[in-house]
Amino acid sequence: MMGLMSWARGKSPWIAVLHAGGCNNCDIEVLDVLTPRFDVERLGVLWKQNPRHADILITNGCVSKHSKVFIKRIYDQMLAPKKVVALGSCACTGGIYVEGEGRNVEETHTIIGGVDKAIPVDVYVPGCPPKPEAIIQGVAIAIEKLKKGD
């Protein structure tokens, strides 16, 4: 039974895309993934803009102090098992919006850094924006994690 469930989870990941704050470029790139060329529906991915239905939350943009609460709430409203993909450099670390060098991310007076400052992140997809294939790869890693269960 668990094998069947794991198979089904791997074959039907529904995504919700959350724009936390930033330049919107990654949003557009996510839309590219849905175009005929990349067509993620063949992998079972459906675009459900609703955290209640989604298994994978794709977040893009850096987290501001204002949006941290909302991101947390939307993550809370997803039902287990759930995985989070941080899309783009801003979502991974804060990108050009934060101070500090290399790994040392220091928050500015509005931006607190990557999405992992607000919610636990499972997959990081660097890129500014990531190429659609990179997004697909990131989702594929998240699917592998989903298969293993919670």
Partner: protein
């Protein structure tokens, strides 16, 4: 059996006892309950023809008959009356002695009207009931209640004029033939003596029909009912809707069907059916636009009476066909139409009482009737909410509730009488009714509480139990309609049919609709769904604090769109009927003169059609 005269006398004496009630207020309730309880017992005993004969023959010249039809009507009147009295104990808090007095007088008169088999006594009891119920409508003693009561009274009195003139014509005929006295108005006498033949008989009966049609009420003269029942206390609205309009209105169809040999014209019955169609369609559309809970229910009540009119009209149509062709198939169709109409009458008194009792409970607890201000009451008053859910779904005709069966029988009767257009419009009306009641359910019970009803708690038990009983009745008659039809409706139908027919093996007697099987399959489906829901496949639930908050795109406190306050506006529902609604709104001026003018115009139209000979 117990002579109905005793029942009425007991009720009247109890009412007189209530006059003393300024001193003994608790005593009023006890007396009223005892009296109405005795009346219920007597009516039920009469129903089963139990050999317990208490009779005062010939007192005051009452002419009562106990047959299937009078039993049914009296049972509806007494049962609902009993529940109304029970409900009033807690509902009417500051009542003087007059409340119980007039309630008992009204119920007593209506029981008398139900059992009367004499047009004069029918008229007399109807007048007594009209006057006493006027006091009940104006119970609150405020300016709108007086207005509503006076509107009610003036329209009713105007309608009685028609009855008086009709009775006068009949009496003139009787005098001309050498009969005199009240006995000349006896229905049995009129039927057997052949007094009413020719145009005068038809004309006088039609005048009486018009007079009683106001009490049904039918389309152009429906305006008194919403006005009166909005200002009246909820118990009185129930009294009006669940028994008054039925007991006082049904004589209209009684005389038409019994004297069917005078009304063999097909056109006449088509006009009656069209009246039913117009009533149900227009009033349900008006009900869309209402924001007052009780006013909405009242308009819907008129619309539901359209089904009854339609069923009776189809019955009469089929009887005319039988009179013309003498094909016994038409008798079955006629029985179908009349059974459907009477069954819908019974069902309507069940679910409309549920709805008015619940509406009264809501008003009692929250202090408002405005649909747009109420909300989220299912948390505060869950029992009332679920009962009202059953009532609303029943009135909307959801399968396995009683409204579905009677509506389905009306459709079948229409189609088998060769009038599918009526059936289609009735189906559409049913969908509109569903929308109207979804609006009530959704805005009042579901959704979010506006926050002003923090202290609202469940209604007192004596206000809830009557509606619970009736709701159980809705489900019972929905799954096993055979019970109601075999024991209650078919005896009444046979009285109204010209030739007695043997009841068919299946009381639904068209295509056999096995509701028990349907219910079984529905429950199997529910069980399949529930098993799928309960199977333990699930993941371990997360322990997030905001998990159960509604999804609003992240924001909660100060949403950008205020969508949390969304409620079904009447505009969404009434969109396709906007132009029609505007016309209706302009025509409902609220002036009694206008309404009486409508009635006069309608009566003149009908009478001129009759005189010309088209109907």
């Amino acid at each position: 059996m117990i002579d109905p005269a005793i029942v009425i006398i007991v009720l009247y004496i109890a009412a007189a006892f209530c006059l003393l009630g300024k001193k003994i207020r608790k005593g009023n309730d006890v007396v009223a309950l005892l009296a109405i309880g005795f009346a219920l017992l007597a009516v039920v005993l009469n129903y089963f023809y139990l050999p317990l004969w208490i009779s005062v023959p010939g007192v005051f010249g009452f002419a009562f008959t106990i047959n299937g039809y009078t039993n049914l009507i009296a049972l509806i009147a007494t049962f609902i009356g009993f529940l109304v009295v029970v409900y009033s104990v807690k509902y009417i808090e500051h009542r003087g002695s007059s409340y119980s007095l007039f309630v008992l007088l009204t119920i007593g008169s209506l029981i008398g009207m139900a059992y009367s088999w004499n047009l004069f006594w029918v008229f007399l009891f109807a007048e007594v009931a009209t006057i006493t119920s006027t006091f009940l409508i104006a119970h609150h003693l405020k300016s709108p209640s007086f207005e509503g009561g006076l509107k009610y009274l003036s329209i009713q009195i105007f309608a009685s004029l028609f009855v008086v003139v009709g009775l006068g014509f009949i009496y003139q005929e009787a005098l001309a033939s050498g009969y005199s006295g009240i006995g000349a108005f006896s229905i049995d006498f009129l039927l057997s003596s052949g007094l009413l033949t020719g145009f005068i008989g038809k004309f006088s009966l039609f005048l009486i029909f018009l007079g009683f049609l106001v009490k049904v009420p039918s389309f152009p003269i429906h305006t008194w009912l919403p006005d009166a029942s909005t200002v009246a206390p909820a118990s009185i609205s129930t009294l009006l809707h669940a028994m008054m309009i039925k007991v006082a209105g049904m004589p209209a169809f009684l005389i038409l069907l019994l004297f069917h040999s005078l009304f063999v014209s097909i056109n006449f019955w088509l006009v009656i059916c069209s009246l039913g169609i117009l009533t149900m369609l227009i009033c349900v559309i008006i009900a869309f636009a209402q924001n007052d809970l009780k006013r909405l229910l009242a308009f819907d009540s008129v619309s539901q009476m359209g089904y009854v009119i339609l069923g009776m009209g189809i019955g009469g149509l089929a009887i005319s066909f039988y009179d013309i062709t003498t094909d016994p198939v038409w008798l079955v169709v006629a029985a179908g139409g009349i059974t459907a109409g009477l069954f819908h009458l019974l069902n309507h008194s069940l679910f409309k009482s549920v709805l008015f009792f619940s509406a009264g409970a809501i008003e009692h607890e929250t202090g408002t009737r405005d649909i747009n201000q109420l909300g989220g009451l299912l948390q505060a008053m869950p029992k009332t909410g679920y009962v009202m859910l059953i009532g609303s779904l029943a009135i909307a005709g959801v399968p396995l509730l009683n409204g579905f069966i009677s509506k389905w029988m009306v459709y079948n009767a229409c189609i088998s009488a060769g009038q599918p257009v009526f059936a289609l419009i009735a189906i559409f009306t049913s969908a509109l009714t569903l929308a109207v009641f979804l609006r009530i359910l959704c805005s009042v019970f579901l959704g979010n509480s506006p926050g002003t009803f923090e202290g609202v708690h469940a209604a007192p038990r004596s206000m809830f139990t009557p509606s619970l009983l009736l709701a159980i009745g809705c489900i019972l008659f929905g799954v096993f309609p055979q019970i109601a039809i075999l024991f209650l409706i078919l005896p009444a139908t046979t009285v109204l049919l010209p030739v007695a027919i043997t009841p068919p093996a299946n009381p639904l007697f068209w295509v056999s609709l096995d509701l028990f099987l349907l219910g079984t399959l529905l429950i199997i489906g529910l069980i399949i769904g529930y098993l799928l829901y309960r199977i333990k496949w699930g993941a371990t639930p997360s322990e997030a604090e905001d998990k159960t908050m509604p999804f609003t795109g992240g924001t909660l406190k100060d949403p950008y769109l205020k969508v949390e306050e969304a409620r079904p506006a009447s505009t969404v529902f009434s969109y396709p009927f906007r132009s029609l609604l505007n016309g209706v709104r302009r025509s409902h001026t609220g002036l009694v003169n206008m309404y009486i003018l409508w009635f006069v115009l309608f009566a003149v139209l009908m009478l001129s059609l009759l005189i010309v000979g088209w109907i």
